[in-house]
């Protein structure tokens, strides 16, 4: 009988083996060089072989006990969205909108309820800290709010 956890372990062992084989392939592709003058592909090739062998080993290894907490898919998805949104927005619409999106999405990922006022406070607080610390002090090239966004809102061009 294969339990569900064991199945995911076995699948992941195959992922590892595939990764190892990919390294072997790219090592050869990058040129291994000669033993006296190893090329850029030498180390990837070696590591590929090692990883493949280890992957096969894991396939046959007895698995330890697992955590019984179910995976937090919702949290993972929303955190991914939060970080993705920040990355997509920070250079296009500016630091403040990006921060707001990040805070709201992260708050949604949490199961605890958050009051709108607390949420707003966190957003404003982080915007201020972010601006002072990273834009004013460390000179990151962020605009608080992109001028394009303002003109888009006001309808002027």
């Amino acid at each position: 009988m294969i339990r569900k956890n064991d199945l995911s372990e076995v699948l992941f062992a195959f992922v590892i083996i595939a990764f190892g084989l990919f390294l072997v392939y790219s090592g050869i592709d990058l040129s291994i060089g000669k033993m006296s003058r190893i090329g850029p592909g030498f180390l990837p090739l070696c590591l590929g072989v090692i990883i493949t062998v280890l992957g096969i080993g894991i396939l046959f290894e007895r698995q330890e006990k697992h955590l019984d907490i179910p995976p937090n898919i919702r949290g993972l998805a929303l955190i991914t969205l939060a970080i993705g949104a920040f990355a997509a927005l920070v250079e296009t619409t500016g630091l403040f909108p990006a921060t707001a999106a990040l805070v709201i999405l992260t708050a949604l990922a949490n199961h605890e309820r958050i009051r709108p006022l607390t949420l707003l406070g966190t957003i404003i607080g982080l915007c201020v800290v972010g601006y002072l610390l990273f834009v004013a002090a460390l000179q990151l090239p962020f605009k608080p709010i992109s001028p394009d966004l303002i003109s888009w809102f006001t309808g002027t061009n």
Partner: protein, 505 residues
């Protein structure tokens, strides 16, 4: 005397205005995040690292190291008062510290914690002073084969000595080595594993890997926990009067043994790669229980049960600097990040570090003492504040941490790609966590990978491709033998079983 002049040099560095200020900032931040359950010193150092780019490298290291040892102090306070270890290594402290709080002796527990931590740290710093330069002197004579073997041993020891599956740990190290390859190969000028991204030609950023694998993965896990109603307990104690803290004379006498034994265990464990403060604290606790004449008192508020693990985890944190500073080989993840910080500041870690940068090395050492004194003074009056801090609800804490992770990864190279790379590592980290893979060795591999490749290449050039060059010098042979032994160790048990079964047949 050489030591005295070195110390004088160190004091000159560590007592400068900047160094003192940033040491103070470092230990304060450390105490703060150490007390917060959910973010450890590792994530904090990764977040703080880009903030230090503008600083003098010595000052930057002083601050980053301060975060690390400061976190040990902060974590124990919440262990004692709330039974909530802010850092994994202080979980043992809760075993006896929390019962002491329940017995109304919180003040004494905190006092013992502060004193034991301080003694453990300061004694271990002495060991760093004694051993690091000596080991570095010895290692200065290493050629490329020996250096390669030392690094290999560092990696393998870290894998086999950590708990969990050795095979999985080895895969993680290899994965880290692969990550270290990403970027332009300096020898051939060929880009490797950049997948056409221009932003990856410089390699993956250490900060992205660390914050993704540990920060993001950790938060996603914690989010699921808070769903199950694991909210912070209300503190019973918010104010501890000073006179409650002082131990009675016979109690004071009982403390020296545990503190010294704890320091000893912590220093040895800390200096070895693979097992950090958590293991040290557990071992010290177990040992104390064994030597005690009243082992039944452990778990109900025994003074020794607080003193020994606290001395041990703080000693191990300081002793971990021995291999890091003398050989350039990190024993655990935090040390790997600190080495990464050195590299980012343009300092080459390795045996030549101490002789090439004496002001930095000795300045760092002296700053450890200054930092520990600061912590001792800081800690006692600030306990009330710390207790308030850790009741910061998760719903505010997590957005803040995610925000710092994002902006921190961006700030390394002012590139949005790095934020996405961090995200990818976050997803990978969560997957690894779910499947019982310990991601810590990835960072060790990542830091040592490029250096190992360079030394391998050099060795093979010198020997004209003859692999037996690694068996030419006794040091290298010895190191490789230890590697082999460590690798075979997990096979010992099944092998014995097999032999026994064969015997019965």
């Amino acid at each position: 005397m050489e030591l005295l002049s070195n110390l004088a040099l160190g004091m000159e560095t560590a007592f400068s205005y900047d160094a003192l200020l940033y040491c103070f900032i470092g230990v304060s931040i450390g105490t703060f995040v150490g007390a917060l359950p959910g973010i450890g010193p590792m994530v904090t150092i990764s977040v703080a690292l880009p903030l230090t780019f503008g600083l003098d490298p010595t000052v930057a290291l002083i601050m980053l190291a301060g975060i690390f040892y400061g976190a040990q102090y902060g974590g124990s306070i919440t262990s004692i008062l709330l039974n909530l270890p802010g850092t994994a290594s202080t979980a043992v402290t809760a075993l006896d510290g929390y019962p002491m709080t329940k017995n109304g002796r919180a003040g004494l527990a905190l006092f013992i914690n502060a004193v034991a931590s301080f003694c453990g740290s300061s004694l271990a710093v002495l060991l760093v002073m004694g051993f690091a330069p000596t080991i570095a002197d010895f290692a200065l004579g290493f050629n490329s084969t020996e250096y390669f073997s030392v690094m290999l041993l560092g990696l393998i020891a870290a894998c086999t000595m950590s708990n969990g599956s050795t095979l999985k740990a080895l895969v993680m190290v290899a994965f880290g080595l692969v990550l270290g390859i990403v970027g332009l190969d300096l020898n051939s000028g060929v880009p490797r594993f950049t997948f056409g991204f221009l932003g990856l030609t410089e390699g993956v950023s250490l900060i992205s890997i660390a914050m993704g694998l540990f920060g993001i993965a950790e938060i996603v896990t914690k989010l699921a926990e808070s769903k199950n109603g694991g909210s912070a307990a209300e503190p019973k104690v918010t104010h501890v009067p000073f006179r409650d803290m002082l131990p009675k004379r016979d109690e004071l006498r009982r403390l020296w043994g545990p503190i010294l034994r704890g320091t000893g265990i912590g220093s040895v464990i800390g200096a070895l790669p693979g097992s950090g403060p958590t293991v040290a604290a557990f071992m010290a606790y177990a040992m104390e229980k064994k030597v005690s004449r009243t082992p039944e008192k452990f778990g109900t508020g025994a003074l020794e049960g607080v003193a020994a693990p606290e001395a041990a985890n703080n000693a191990s944190v300081q002793a971990a600097f021995i291999p890091t500073l003398s050989l350039g080989i990190p024993g655990d993840v935090v040390m790997a990040i600190l080495l990464g910080a050195m590299i980012m500041h343009g300092i080459i870690p390795g045996p030549q570090f101490i002789s090439a940068q004496p002001a930095m090395f000795w300045g760092l050492i002296v700053s450890f003492w200054i930092g520990n004194v600061m912590l001792l003074i800081l800690n006692l009056p600030l306990i009330g504040l710390l207790v308030k801090i850790i009741t910061v609800p998760a719903r505010i804490l997590y957005p803040v941490v995610i925000f710092f992770i994002c902006i921190g990864s961006y700030s390394v190279a002012n590139n949005v790609l790095d934020v996405f790379v961090t995200l990818v590592f976050g997803l990978v980290g969560y997957l690894l966590l779910r499947l019982n893979y310990n991601a810590a060795p990835v960072l060790l591999g990542f830091i040592l990978g490029p250096m190992m490749e360079e030394n391998l290449r050099r060795s093979l050039v010198i020997s004209r491709g003859d692999l037996t060059v690694f068996l030419d010098r006794p040091v290298s042979v010895g190191l490789l033998l230890v590697c082999l032994l460590l690798l075979l160790m997990p096979l010992r048990k099944p092998l014995m079983r097999y032999i026994r079964m064969a015997g019965q047949r």
